[in-house]
Amino acid sequence: MELKQLNQKALYCMYVTTFCMTVVALAVITAILYFTSLFSKPIVPILFGILFIFSLSDLLICPFFRYRRYRYGLDKDCIYIREGFLWTEETIVPLERLHKIALSQGPIDRFFGLTKVIVTTAGGDAEINFLEYTVAQSITESLKHKINHIALEEKHGKQ
């Protein structure tokens, strides 16, 4: 199976997404610490500082390596997705188990012209993220053909 890498736009999208999530998380933590007056405790500012540094390093480093490591591929049998930086995740979905294929775009995805393909099986969903819209469409079309082919084969097999 030929594994493909994401487009450069995916890297920018990952940076923006991580930035937004980091800002929201830090804002929520800051608000909680401020309104519960926990900042006055000597250890809390130190811990918050450590958390801030971790978040900043995560924001700077993770998207780059996530982008570099992200791979997806599909052949006549299955869909393969590998993602993650330090903690990696590998997903294998057999095509004959697919029930539904969907395209989805969030606001940040739309800004960068990216899409995610969501494949649904009877046991749950798997996603191929940060794809260019045209690539996502071609994957969807290709999956549709393959699923139809499998369904026809099964039907003839039963007959």
Binding site: K41, W87, E89, E90, I92, H99, G123, G124, A126
Partner: protein, 496 residues
Amino acid sequence: MESNKIRCHFSIIFEKAGSFLVFWFILAWNWIDDIIELFTSPDFNQKAFQHLLPICVGLILLLVFILGYQFLVWRKTFIYLEGDTFVVERSTLNRKKNSLSISSIANINLEQNLFERLIGTSRFKLDTDSFSTADSTDVSIVLSTPKATALKESLLSLMNNTTHKVDTSASSAQTTPEHSYVSTKDVLSHCFFSLPSATIFFFLILVIGLPLAVHFGYLSLGNPASGNNSEFYKSIFAIAIFVITYVYSFLKRLLSFYHFCCCRQGNELMIQYGFFRKQEFTIPLERINAVQLLQPPLARLTGRMQAQLICVGIGDDDTEKPQLTLSMKKDLFFAHLQEILPEFSTESIKNVHNLPNNTGIAYFFSCLSFFLLFQAFFWITLSVLDIKSSGTQFLWICYGVSNVFIILYQLLHYHTMGTVLEEKRLTIHNGVFQKQIYIIPYRKIQFFTFHQNPLCGFLQIARGEIHLLAPLTNSTISLPYINSKDMNLLKVKLLD
């Protein structure tokens, strides 16, 4: 086929209108004193009655309207078989036609509560093999018991590819297999040996923790002989609440599994149980996605086992339990499982299962990180809450017990984990205090995911998740450590 259209039982009208009737009854009960006072007061006259009359008429009209609407729904709802589909059609204000393919039926459940048994009806429930409705029942209708049984038999015949008309007469009773019901003693022992870990821990806390707390003066039982005995009664009340809750849940389990029976009927499994609510499931073997063997703590200590099914449709609500066998001694259990479900071989689980060679290192670091996180959380909390170390013996005892518990938890988890890749099925051993063994045919796995941290990547091992078609609680099964060779083998088996 449409000439065999049948309706729900008439009692459904009152059942559907029941919530309104109950609401009305509660309202009247709450106001009963006011109403009596109003009617018996000396200033109650015709004028007051004129004010009350429209309210009473309005309520009666509302009741008549609700009953009338439910009557219309009953009158216009038909159930029939059309080709290879099961149809529930309703044409009241809205027209609705639910067609379920017979080939996709996952199980048929006949249910009877006490009231339904008195009036001779059964609730007929159907579930289809679909992910979107895995946590709900697709069809739930009330029929007279002979009709429900006949409809079930007709559906089963059609599911087995034999043409069979819907015969709603009671005379269509077919030959049934010999049922061997489990004795009440076995149900009692099942309930005892299936006690969940949490109940056992609470019991241990009560037995060990309570005397310790009293000894260190954190809890006073007071002196019932003295005048100030409120603390004594509070403590007794707390213990009583625990005991009552435990006895209630025990009795509930006992009654729900009363008269348990599971037997094989060709290519179907038939499971029956229940005292107040009698349930009868019929499950085609093809719809069983996995079998889960369970050993709750007490069963594990005494060498007992029980089995549950993982399939769509059973377990949608609290009263449905996908029990395949009750808790019994291992030898008996394996023989019984082989008899009723030989398709799911239990040979591999009798053998010792080993984890890949390097798992110990990866697991040790994973546990260490969790242990260190707990220590950090504890000490930071102490620092933030300004808790001084003097005079807090009870806190230190809790801290020590927690540390021992974490270590015990991790050791037991490591000892329990394991994966065996057989020719046609995957066996997963998991759990901590309660051991769970999953037997999953490869063709029933929908997809899987492997997870690796840097150390696991270096050691060429991974953990993962198996996704199945099952209710939400069982749709994702955690896969313990496997090596790269088994990862590849699993991929091959999945795509085979």
